[in-house]
Subunit: 146 residues, 2 copies
DNA sequence: ACGCAAGTGCAAATAAGTCTCATTTAAATT
DNA sequence: AATTTAAATGAGACTTATTTGCACTTGCGT
C-alpha cells in the first residue's frame, strides 16, 4: 500500500539531485510517519526493526544530505545529540517548548515572534536563513503531581 | 593589580557555596575579561597559557558548577560543542544572531519577543526556566564583498 | 544490459565530554 | 599556626555521538 508513497519519495529525492536509494526512501517514510523527534540512533534502530538493511554511517550521511536539501530539519535540544524531523513548509514552521522533566516537546508558532525576528535582523543588516527558538521549562503534566 | 578582583571573585564563589579555588577564580576572571564565547577547550587552553595549572576535567567540572549557580551561561550554537559566557543579570539577557559565514555572534535583545515567549508559555501552561533564540544567517560584513 | 559515479557497510578514527581514583587544598576547627 | 576533612583537582581511561577510509554495491542515464 506504500507503492505510491515510494514513487512520490523517489520523485522528491530526484528533484533534489539525490539518488533514490532504498535506505533514503525508508528513512523519509519513517520520518513522514511520525510526529516524534528521533535522533540518529533511534532512526537507525527503527529502520533495522523494519527489516531494512542500513548502517549507522548511512543514516548519518543520509540525514546530512537530506538536511542539506532541506528535506529534513535538524533539531538541537542541547542534550548532546541531534534530532530530526521531516521539514515542514515555510508556512508550517514551528518552535519548541521542551520539558526538562519528562523530555516532552510541544510545538508552537507565534506570528508576532517571527515578525520581531525579522525586524531584529533588519536592524542588524543580517540576512537570516534559519532560526531556533527553544524554551526549556516544566510542562503542565510534570508540575501537577507533587 | 588584580588582587581586588580576586577578592571579589572569592566572595562571589563563597556566596554560592562554592570553594574559591585558584582554578575557578582564573576561569571567572578569563570570562569576565572577554566578550567572546569560548568553548571548554578554548578556556582550557587560555588558562594553560596564563601559566595556570588546570586540567580539562576541572574546566568541565567548574563550568558545570558555575552554570548551576548561574555564574556562567551555557550557549549552544548547534555545532556540537558548548560555549560559555559570564552570566549577565536578568536585565542584561540577550539572544544571538550567528553568521554562518564568519562565525561572528551578534547579541540582541527584543522586549516584545520576550513578552511573546511568556505568552506562549502561558497558553501552554508551561513554566519556563531558560530559553535560546538563535538566528542563523549572513552578517553585513559577509554579504558586502562579492 | 552496461558503466560508473554516487551511495553503502563495516570498522577504525575523532571529538566532546564524563568518570575513577589517588592526591591536594580551601576553609572550618582547635 | 597546626590539624582536620570534605570538597576539588589532575591524569588518564572511558563513553557517546558522529565522521571517515576504503572496498564493495547499486541507481540510473545511455
Amino acid at each position: 500500500m506504500s507503492a505510491a508513497e515510494n514513487q512520490q519519495l523517489k520523485q522528491v529525492l530526484r528533484e533534489h539531485e539525490l539518488k533514490a536509494t532504498t535506505q533514503r526512501i525508508a528513512l523519509l517514510k519513517l520520518l513522514d510517519a511520525t510526529h516524534e523527534h528521533f535522533d540518529a540512533e533511534e532512526i537507525y534502530l527503527e529502520l533495522l526493526k523494519k527489516q531494512k538493511n542500513v548502517s549507522r554511517a548511512t543514516v548519518y550521511r543520509s540525514l546530512e544530505a537530506l538536511a542539506e536539501q532541506d528535506l529534513v530539519t535538524r533539531l538541537d535540544f542541547g542534550d548532546g545529540r541531534m534530532r530530526f524531523e521531516r521539514s515542514k513548509g515555510e508556512d508550517e514552521h514551528h518552535d519548541h517548548l521542551i520539558c526538562e522533566e519528562c523530555g516532552k516537546v510541544i510545538e508552537f508558532f507565534n506570528l508576532e515572534m517571527e515578525a520581531q525576528q525579522l525586524s531584529v535582523c533588519e536592524e542588524n543588516d543580517f540576512t537570516p536563513s534559519t532560526h531556533t527558538m527553544h524554551i526549556f521549562g516544566i510542562c503542565s503534566d510534570c508540575k501537577k503531581p507533587q
